[in-house]
């Protein structure tokens, strides 16, 4: 054994162990996120438990098992729990999501295995997804249509019909709210700014005043009509109600205007569940968030992330490429160039929050503030560009990712054999022509790699964005149907910040946690995919020029 130790072999094994730990950590992390994120959409089985608690009070609980844990009996005993029989060292405890938030005090509760008398899986429990107060579990009993109670033979199809109708009406109302009402409000605000602008320039003549007033009156009249239509739809959607028996055994009336969907999870087969799973994912990526971001989808966050990153890519690519070309092709080789190169590489290591601070001070307050003074005096003191917004976020991240693009492009440039350059020059091309026709096309995969890496880094950055433009809930997207269609000064939502906000700032962390995992999975898969693409492009590139060199 001593000899074995002397040979150093155990230490080699230890280093091997380190690699294994790293690998397990990486893969385990990705698997954990993937598992938790994707299982969120899987329709869980709904159980009904009969429970007798400490004080021998019997009750019924309907819900899904959310989590389970083993608790040492001693801890329970010291917390004042008593057991009738010997239960061993540990007791299983289930976290049950019972929903029905407005009727019971807790929509999540811990239930001890020892308290459970029986557990069943009734087929006709309905899971009702609602736009307020979370999910509702219960047995459908009847329908109230326009004030009259109906008891149809096939209650489930009647349910589905009525809900479909209400959802369609609600969607229409939402369209009006977002489309027409939004446009009218936007135009009214523009009118106010216009009149304020005239006032500031001392050009608010009577005729202009009258003109603005007439336009305003017209818009207001339009608004009245649209609003009436909107409320009519809303009332119509709320015409019917459904009656459901909940776990307390009481019949509860739920108005249909808050109900989004109904499923009978226990009745679904594997195929049905898979179908539901895909529908769930689809809804997640295409819906707006609800209830302080703890329910619904993340579409605005996806849109905001993609839009901001694209904007950033548009800004960073030309500057990064020009800087790299200058550094590699034009700058004289000397200590200064070397210093610049080191400085650029090091800037990639400067903490992102520092860029955020710089962006806030320089772009938002100084640059944006000046723009407001010069071009938007009518809106002051409310800032237009002088407050955090998507353009400033894009600019800040552009500076943050500039080193990535420069380094990657320069690497690509240095991989191009000098013979290619010399050949082009020997044939009479100028340096600019060589660059434009030969060098840049050959370096384009490297530029692409840099860009992809920059995009991957930018998509995952959150800290600087918290200072320069991201919000937990943006009422409007940066692109809409109102002139000038692209609103660069608006604040936006971001997947990364969404994770932070929902996971740490939301009122109901327990309910929101699966959604955070799902969002994390979305973000991770986008970023890992981008990185793998970059690695692939880079490897391909290396192979390509390896053959060129020989």
């Amino acid at each position: 054994m001593g000899k074995w130790f002397k040979s150093g072999s155990p230490w080699i094994w230890m280093t091997s162990g380190a690699v294994s730990v790293c690998l397990i950590a990486v893969l385990g992390l990705l698997l954990l996120i993937a598992w938790r994120g994707l299982s969120y959409f899987w329709p869980a089985d709904i159980y009904q438990w009969e429970i007798e608690d400490q004080n021998n009070v019997r009750s019924t609980i309907i819900g899904e098992v959310y989590d389970r844990e083993e608790v040492p009996v001693e801890r329970l005993l010291s917390a004042g729990h008593t057991f009738d029989a010997d239960v061993g060292d540990t007791v299983t405890r289930y976290l049950i999501k019972t929903g029905n938030r407005e009727f019971v005090s807790l929509d999540f509760r811990w239930v001890m295995e020892t308290d459970i008398i029986s557990r069943s899986k009734p087929n006709d429990i309905a899971v009702i997804e609602r736009s307020k107060n979370g999910d509702f579990y219960g047995y459908p009993v009847g329908i109230i249509e326009d004030g009259k109670r109906l008891t149809p033979d096939n209650i489930e199809s009647a349910f589905a019909e009525h809900i479909e109708r209400a959802v369609a009406l609600n969607d229409k109302a939402l369209d009006i709210q977002k489309g027409d009402i939004g446009t009218i409000n936007y135009e009214l605000e523009n009118l106010r700014l216009k009149s304020r602008k005239y006032e500031l320039n001392n050009a608010l003549t009577e005729s202009r005043k009258a003109d603005i007033e007439s336009q305003r009156a017209k818009l207001n009249a339009q608004y009245q009509i649209v609003e009436k239509e909107f409320f009519a739809l809303k009332t119509e959607a709320g015409r019917d109600s459904v009656i459901i028996r909940d776990m307390r055994g009481e019949e509860v009336v739920l108005k249909l205007d808050t109900i989004l969907d109904v499923t009978y999870a226990n009745r679904l087969g594997i195929l049905g569940k898979v179908g539901h799973w895909f529908i769930g994912i689809g809804k997640f990526v295409s819906d707006d968030p609800r209830e302080a971001n703890t329910e619904g989808g993340v579409f605005p966050a996806i849109f905001g992330t993609v839009f901001m990153v694209m904007l950033m890519a548009v800004i960073v690519t030309p500057f990064g490429v020009i800087a790299a070309i200058y550094l590699h092709e034009y700058a004289k080789k000397g200590p200064v160039t070397k210093m610049i190169r080191i400085a650029v590489i090091n800037l990639a290591g400067v903490p992102s929050i520092v860029y955020g601070v710089f962006g806030l001070g320089f772009f938002v307050y100084m640059f944006g503030g000046s723009i407001d003074q010069l071009f938007y005096p009518e809106a002051l003191p409310a800032p237009t560009f002088g407050s955090p917004g998507v353009i400033w976020s894009a600019l800040t991240l552009a500076i943050l990712t500039l080193p990535v693009v420069i380094v990657s492009t320069e690497e690509g440039l240095s991989r191009i054999p000098s013979s290619v350059r010399q050949g082009s020059l020997a044939l009479g091309a100028t340096k600019a022509e060589t660059l434009w026709r030969i060098i840049i096309p050959m370096a384009s995969p490297a530029i692409m790699t840099g860009l992809i890496l920059a995009v991957a880094r930018a998509a995952g950055e959150v800290a600087p964005l918290m200072l320069v433009g991201v919000v937990k809930l943006a009422p409007t997207l940066p692109i809409d149907m109102n002139f000038p269609f692209v609103h660069l000064e608006r604040k936006f939502m971001h997947l990364g910040f969404h994770i932070y906000d929902v996971g740490f700032q939301s009122p109901n962390v327990e309910a929101a946690r699966p959604l955070v995992y799902a969002t994390s999975f979305l973000l991770v898969s986008v970023i890992v995919a981008l990185n793998l693409t970059a690695i692939g492009v880079r490897n391909h590139l290396r192979e390509k020029y390896r053959s060129l060199e020989h």
Partner: protein, 751 residues
């Protein structure tokens, strides 16, 4: 691979132009200029970050500026009771000891208004007293035992859209004087304070007895009229010769200055006043010239003729709250008078020969000191916004403009212990905001720098061994096929958004660790043990079996072992918990060991941030080890060294600068990481090394507080300073790492 492309010579260029292709030559030139300008601009923009941060930070270290603006003549032989100005510094005023109030326009230096307070027939003013500067109020004690309370007020109106400031006097308690002494004694040495429901007066009557009289108002619910009830008493053990008498604005304390002693009385109950403390100011050869209250009225400023100014405030001790000497300021000799600002802790002193000094107590900074042509100076006072100073000297009332934007910040206040008002001892405190108005921001960067270091240290403790050992194995022992998969897999973790790591750390890992503390401990012990024992088992395995498995797949063989050990540790955790820690480890740590336990603690941060740092270190260290020339290790092996000896004595030694640079890079990343720390710690700015407690780092602090700080405020600039410190720190470490790496690359190429 650097390539130097030769420029076409001038002859070649001429050839181009002569051939009628001047457009191409111009294009070529234009491209060169364009790229050069564009490239330089980009680097200038990057440089801008540095200079912009510096530009925002700089004003906090600037000293104050004081400059004379205007002066006006007055006629009075005695020093004024109080002087001051309105908020806009358009009107300054002077209140004489006899109750004559003069208002001067600062633009024209003309007297604009004079008010003489009329005393009732047969009485005259025997003493006068000014309240705290921020109240702009004074009281006149009369010979018949009555008192008149008046205040200076400025009405602002905008006729014709122009600001017009109208100074006036306001009389509290109606126009009739208030009777304080029922026996009709004169009110000598008056001290008073007034609030809307309470007034207190302290005076010495004709029999040299110190008395207190208090009026407390109670609003009648029905008629909404205020009924005043009066209480009175005597002040026991009072000194005979009193130079100065001060009352705190909350009307709870009275301070009498006599010789080199301060008598502190508790006057909360006017009918039972008690002596709380007698403070010996004893300074050899120095005489007390002035005692005054600092803004907030918690501190006393005692000035001496030698030029010394001392700050005293109450500190909780064995005998309750007692005044204690906190800090000294050495100043020019002959201090004539002292004035403090309305809201901040700045004060100004003036000496007999006109030397004006502006100081700030907490940061212990002398912000300004200059000799002005001021003969025989008297009373001084700040303007309400503290941007002007009124000084009376030699028959002239002088207005000085004051620019003093960030007095509370100094290098020493940020990096060394500061004794704040209300604290029992000097401390490092970061507390930038609070709910109350008279709150003093405590901006010590020390706890944040400490937190940053702590987080980085724990992360590095976790990451460095794993990453370097992993890198060595991957680079030196692993078969190329496996390496081609393993390396990118670990490197992909670098791209993982830290917000996700932070979220997992805060919401998944922290509760997991809290519930399975014994399991974590077991894991730490069992993991190396299991690796070693499986290695030994492999060593003892019959060669026949070994041949079936290729030797190079060691790393894969260990994965199931480690997975099992991990599962096992967590599985036995509850049993261990009930066997050794009474069923609840957390309670055990708190109660039995007396260690504070936060759920989101340094252990969680260390692991989570360690994972963020591992790929950085791994990647660079692996490159360094891998690019050690093979002939070096081959030579060593050929001479009979074992692989391990070759590794430690040859390969690692050669690659050590690269590994060093990898660690530096990792440190740079750990120091600046924001989201993980923000989400996985409690973000409390404490200074404890304990693994089970959290911290607040510079970066997380910026993320939390930056959006709320007002532009241009001291807080805003200090946050910029924090960012600047982070910038310099990481830039410095990264530069070292990069330079080392480049040197190494050159050395390898020469080998």
């Amino acid at each position: 691979m650097e390539t130097q492309v030769s420029q076409p010579g001038s002859a070649a260029k001429n050839l181009l132009i002569n051939n009628g292709t001047s457009r191409r030559a111009i294009m070529d030139k234009a491209a060169q200029v364009g790229v050069t300008v564009g490239g330089t601009m980009v680097f200038v923009a990057l440089l801008l970050i540095f200079f912009y941060l510096l530009y925002v930070v700089k004003p906090i270290f600037d000293s104050a500026e004081v400059a004379p603006v205007a002066s006006a003549d007055y006629h009075d032989s005695k020093p004024a009771l109080m002087v001051g100005s309105d908020e806009q510094n358009e009107v300054m005023y002077r209140v004489s000891q006899l109750g004559k109030v003069d208002f001067f326009d600062t633009q024209t230096s003309q007297l604009v208004r004079t008010e003489q307070i009329n005393t009732p027939a047969g009485s005259h003013v025997v003493s006068s007293s000014a309240a705290m500067p921020s109240e702009q109020r004074f009281a006149l004690g009369l010979s018949n035992g009555q008192v008149i309370i008046a205040g200076v007020e400025f009405g602002v109106t905008y006729p014709d859209n122009k600001r017009l400031i109208t100074p006036k006097l306001r009389f509290y308690n109606g126009s009739a004087p208030l009777t304080v002494d029922a026996d009709g004694h004169a009110l000598n040495h008056l001290a008073f304070d007034y609030s809307s429901d309470k007034m207190s007066f302290v005076y010495q009557d004709d029999n040299k007895v110190w008395r207190i009289s208090r009026q407390e108002g109670e609003e009648n619910m029905m008629t909404e009229e205020v009924e005043w009830v009066s209480y009175s008493g005597t002040i026991p053990d009072a000194p005979v010769n009193v130079q100065q008498q001060l009352m705190t604005p909350d009307q709870r304390q009275l301070i009498l200055s006599s010789g080199d002693k301060l008598f502190v009385y508790d006057i909360r109950d006017a009918e039972a006043v008690s002596l709380r403390q007698v403070l010996e100011l004893g300074r050899a050869k120095a005489k007390v010239t002035n005692v005054s209250l600092l803004a907030g009225a918690s501190s006393l400023l005692v000035s001496y003729d030698s030029g010394l100014v001392q700050q005293y405030f109450q500190v909780n001790g064995d005998q309750g709250r007692q005044y204690q000497e906190i800090r000294d300021f050495d100043n020019h000799a002959g201090i004539k008078s002292v004035a403090s600002e309305f809201y901040r802790k700045s004060f100004v002193t003036i000496t007999d020969d006109g030397n004006l000094s502006l100081l700030y107590t907490t940061s212990q900074r002398e912000l300004f000191s200059e000799k002005f042509d001021l003969k025989n100076p008297g009373t001084i006072g700040f303007s309400p916004r503290s941007n002007a100073l009124v000084v009376e000297a030699g028959g002239k009332l002088n207005l000085f403009s004051v620019s003093n934007t960030h007095p509370e910040v100094s290098w020493s206040a940020m990096w060394s212990k500061v004794w704040y008002e209300g604290y029992p001892e000097p401390k490092y405190v970061w507390q930038s905001t609070s709910g109350s108005d008279d709150f003093e921001a405590k901006l010590s960067l020390m706890p944040l720098a400490f937190g940053t270091m702590k987080a980085a240290l724990y992360a590095m403790l976790f990451a460095t061994p794993l990453a370097i050992a992993g890198a060595v194995y991957t680079a030196y022992f692993m078969s190329p096929k496996v390496r081609a998969i393993v390396k990118p897999t670990i490197e992909i973790m670098e791209a993982l958004p830290t917000v996700i790591l932070g979220f997992l750390a805060g919401l998944w890992l922290a509760p997991l660790i809290e519930d399975n503390l014994p399991g974590i401990l077991t894991l730490l012990v069992l993991l190396p043990a299991s690796v070693l024992s499986s290695a030994y088992a492999w060593h003892k395995l019959p060669a026949k079996w070994k041949q079936r498995l290729p030797d190079t797949y060691q790393e894969i063989m260990l994965i199931p072992v480690i997975l099992f050990i991990g599962w096992f540790s967590f599985a036995i955790s509850p049993s261990l918990e009930s066997a050794f820690f009474g069923g609840d480890t957390r309670m055990f740590i708190t109660n039995e060991l007396g260690i504070t336990f936060d759920q989101r603690n340094a252990l969680v941060v260390g692991i989570a941030m360690g994972f963020a740092v591992i790929p950085t270190i791994f990647s660079i260290a692996e490159d360094a080890v891998f690019s050690v020339p093979r002939h070096l290790s081959n030579g060593s092996l050929a001479l009979g060294a074992t692989t391990w000896q070759t590794l430690t004595r040859v390969v690692l030694l050669t690659a050590s600068p690269g590994i060093f640079s990898a660690v530096m890079m990792g440190l740079g990343r750990a120091v600046g990481e924001t989201m993980i720390v923000l989400m996985a710690t409690g973000n409390t700015a404490i200074m404890e090394w304990s693994v089970f407690e959290g911290m607040r780092t510079l970066a997380a602090n910026i993320a939390v507080e930056m959006p709320e700080s007002a532009i241009g405020s001291s807080h805003y600039r200090v946050l910029f300073l924090a960012a600047f410190v982070l910038f310099i720190f990481t830039f410095f470490f990264n530069t070292i790492a990069e330079v080392v790496r480049q040197r190494l690359r050159e050395r390898y190429s020469s080998l």
